[in-house]
C-alpha cells in the first residue's frame, strides 16, 4: 500500500451535483479495488492559468488515497474514459498533510468546498470510542 494524492480537473460546465456524483463514482472504484480514501477535498471552480480544451475554469478535486498501484492504474483508466475530466495527475507522497491543504485555507469564502471531510473524521472518532468502550 502506498500513499497517493490524485487530482482531477472537471469541465467548467459540470454542475456541482455532477461533480459530487463523479467523485463518488471514483471513490466507489477505489473502494472496489480495496483502497482507502483518507481525505477528499473540493477546491472549487478555479480559474485555469491557460485554457484546456476551450475551458477557462475547472472544478478541482483532490483525493488522498491509501492504495495499491493497481488500484491507481484502474482509477486513471476511468479518468481517461470520463469525458468531463480534462486533466488529472496522481502523485506518490510520503505522507499526507494533516488538516485541510493550503488550497482550502486560501479560499475561505467558498463554503461549498467542505464535502466529505467531516464524515471521515467522525468515522475515525467513532472507531476510537468503540475501542475505548471495549477496553
Amino acid at each position: 500500500m502506498n500513499f497517493y494524492e490524485t487530482i482531477s480537473i472537471l469541465r467548467q460546465d459540470t454542475s456541482i451535483q455532477g461533480v459530487k456524483t463523479i467523485t463518488d463514482e471514483f471513490k466507489s472504484i477505489l473502494a472496489s479495488m480495496g483502497a482507502e480514501v483518507v481525505k477528499h477535498e473540493y477546491w472549487g471552480l478555479r480559474q485555469l492559468a491557460y485554457p484546456i480544451n476551450r475551458n477557462k475554469r475547472g472544478h478541482y478535486t483532490m483525493l488522498c488515497v491509501k492504495a495499491s498501484p493497481e488500484a491507481m492504474a484502474e482509477l486513471e483508466r476511468h479518468y481517461k474514459i470520463k469525458e468531463n475530466v480534462i486533466r488529472f495527475m496522481t502523485l506518490k507522497v510520503d505522507k499526507f498533510d494533516s488538516g485541510p491543504s493550503l488550497m482550502m485555507q486560501s479560499q475561505v469564502g467558498e463554503q461549498e468546498a467542505e464535502v466529505a471531510q467531516p464524515k471521515v473524521d467522525t468515522k475515525k472518532e467513532e472507531t476510537k470510542e468503540e475501542v475505548k468502550n471495549a477496553e
Binding site: I7, I9, R46, A49, R87, M89, L102
Partner: protein, 94 residues
C-alpha cells in the same frame, strides 16, 4: 607601528589586517525556505509565483534567487507540477 594592535612575531594577523571582525563576518541569515522546506509544494501557488517572472512566467534562475541547489531543484519540480495542473502558466512565447 607602535600601537595597541596585538602582533604575532611583529606581523599583524590577517584577521585584524582585513578587518574580519565579528560584525563584518556575520553570516547571512538562512533563507526561510531552507528552514521550512515543506512549504515548497505545488499547492502553495502564492509562494511558487514569487519564483517565476511576471510577464512570461519563466522560472527565475538560481544565480538570481541565490537559493541552495537542493531547494531550487525542489522548487523547479513543484512549479512544473503546478503548470501541468494549470495552477501556473507555462512560459509564453516572445
Amino acid at each position: 607601528m607602535q600601537s595597541n594592535i596585538p602582533t604575532q612575531d611583529g606581523y599583524i594577523s590577517n584577521f585584524l589586517l582585513f578587518n574580519k571582525t565579528a560584525e563584518v563576518t556575520q553570516k547571512k541569515p538562512t533563507h526561510h525556505l531552507v528552514q521550512n522546506p515543506h512549504l515548497i509544494n505545488y499547492k502553495n501557488v502564492d509562494l511558487l509565483k514569487q519564483y517565476i517572472t511576471k510577464g512570461r512566467g519563466r522560472i527565475i534562475p538560481r544565480r538570481i534567487t541565490g537559493l541552495p541547489s537542493y531547494i531550487h531543484k525542489k522548487l523547479v519540480r513543484e512549479i512544473k507540477i503546478a503548470r501541468i495542473l494549470a495552477l501556473l502558466p507555462f512560459a509564453s512565447g516572445a
